[in-house]
């Protein structure tokens, strides 16, 4: 299964994005990043109910610090 999400360094930035998106009528949920890499260590992933690029656009325009959009294929 493929997942696409916006990555954040910490929960604070992620929650700020959730709150901002809610104000624009976009529902999103925050989780720990299911696919952390050894360079960045632990971080958070924002899953968007709708267009991830619209959400990403809003987040970057509002200067919320993030680590970009990432896709991840779950291996079962």
């Amino acid at each position: 299964m493929n997942y696409t999400y916006i990555k954040f360094e910490n929960q604070t930035y992620g929650e700020k994005a959730v709150s901002l998106l809610a104000g624009s009528g976009i529902k999103a949920s925050l989780r720990r990043n299911p696919n952390p890499n050894h360079k960045q260590g632990c971080n958070f992933a924002l899953f968007v109910n709708g267009s991830i690029w619209d959400a990403y656009d809003i987040i970057t325009k509002n200067h919320i610090k993030n680590l970009g959009v990432e896709s991840y294929r779950e291996r079962l």
Binding site: N10, Q11, Y13, R31, R32, K65
Partner: protein, 382 residues
């Protein structure tokens, strides 16, 4: 007990604060910002909600709200984190030891030099002129309290903030006695760094403090360690709040602090401030007819703060507080951790008795205090 020591910590706390602390302990007491399970995420969300509430209250970005143990811890982080070798610092003549001591220690370590500007209680212009006269080429930081914790003297931080912006000097404000009872707005008042206790005017539990940074303020951390982020790097994260918030935060306290901030916002700072000042002015009027009492706070004008300091002839301040305690009234006597303020008002020999009111005090509390102080003056209580 008639509690009139709200300057030390507010009591009682609103029910909503007690409920919030209980809920945090009972329902979602996981480590916030660490694990990925639902309870940890919920805890992290509650901490974020507290950041958001405080950022709205004091006008700064939510990620620049840093939780600390208390206001002293916030001030130490701000002072140590903003100064480098060779810097000059200016502090006011009404500073608490939580400002004086870290600055004085850095001077003794040979890192900085500092001067103290005299606050003229009734002249913003003279106060500002006193500050301006001490500015040097290497003045990097000015630190001052918004309201004196001993005498209730209001420092003109709006004017100071505007001036310091024009000189590009960092402005650190100790909002210990002001937060929750006076309007503090970092953007409007030109404050770069604001340090607050959570347990005083913000009505939260003890063990909570807040450091708020403007978008341009940068600090070197005082503490290094785990942040739940960038875990594979040996370097402290450069982003906020993680940069300054190592170790597990006080979730239960922060939940209570959020409820306290909500309480203040729903009551209205203007309304709280007005009620508290009314009580202090009623007390001032009562004290003016009791023989042998000297009131120090704002001697020439009505007060707009929530505290007042006085002394009684022939009594040490501690004795007055002890006699009041026997009548069930809690006051704070002595030196209030503020060497500079007592020196400034000439009360370094006797200390002073401080009466500080909170949102739950009433006119009846003040009348009772006035009655007993009169009894003490008449030597009916000994």
């Amino acid at each position: 007990m008639i509690y009139l020591d709200n300057g030390a910590t507010t009591f009682p706390k609103p029910r909503s604060v007690i409920k919030a602390v209980n809920e945090a302990m009972l329902l979602y007491g996981a480590n916030p910002g660490r694990g990925g399970h639902s309870m940890a995420l919920k805890a992290g969300r509650k901490v974020f909600e507290a950041r958001q509430a405080l950022s709205e209250m004091f006008s700064c970005s939510s990620e620049r709200v840093i939780f600390c143990d208390n206001c002293t811890s916030a001030l130490n982080t701000a002072i140590r984190g903003s100064l480098k070798k060779g810097d000059h610092v200016i502090i006011s003549s009404l500073e608490h030891n939580s400002v004086l001591r870290p600055v004085h220690a850095m001077k003794n370590e040979g890192i900085i030099t500092y001067d103290v500007f005299y606050v003229e209680p009734h002249s913003k212009e003279k106060t500002l002129a006193n500050l301006k006269g001490l500015i040097r080429k290497n003045t990097a930081v000015v630190i001052c309290t918004a309201v004196s914790n001993v005498f209730g003297t209001v420092i003109p931080i709006d004017e100071i903030g505007t001036y310091l912006k024009s000189r590009n000097i960092l402005f650190i404000v100790d909002g210990a006695q002001a937060a929750g009872s006076r309007l503090l707005d970092m953007k409007k008042q030109g404050i770069d760094i604001l340090c607050l206790p959570g347990h005083k005017g913000l009505m939260g539990p003890m063990g909570t403090g807040v450091l708020l940074l403007s978008d341009s303020a940068e600090l070197v951390p005082l503490k290094y360690g785990g942040t739940g982020s960038a875990s594979m790097s040996p370097d402290q994260p450069s982003f906020y709040p993680d940069r300054l918030e190592s170790g597990t935060v006080n979730l239960h306290g922060i939940a209570g602090l959020k409820a306290g901030a909500d309480f203040i916002r729903s009551e209205g700072i203007g309304s709280i401030s007005y009620r508290e000042a009314q009580l202090i002015n009623a007390l001032r009027e009562d004290l003016s007819v009791i023989k042998g009492i000297t009131v120090y706070s704002d001697m020439h004008s009505v007060s707009d703060t929530n505290l007042l300091a006085f002394n009684m002839n022939n009594y040490h301040s501690e004795k007055v507080a002890e006699l009041c305690d026997k009548q069930g009234i809690a006051l704070r006597a002595g030196y209030h951790c503020s060497y500079l303020a007592h020196k400034s008002y000439g009360t370094e020999k006797t200390g002073a008795v401080r009466v500080s009111v909170g949102p739950f005090n009433t006119k009846k509390d003040i009348k009772n205090l006035s009655f007993y102080l009169n009894e003490i003056a008449l030597r009916k209580i000994m």
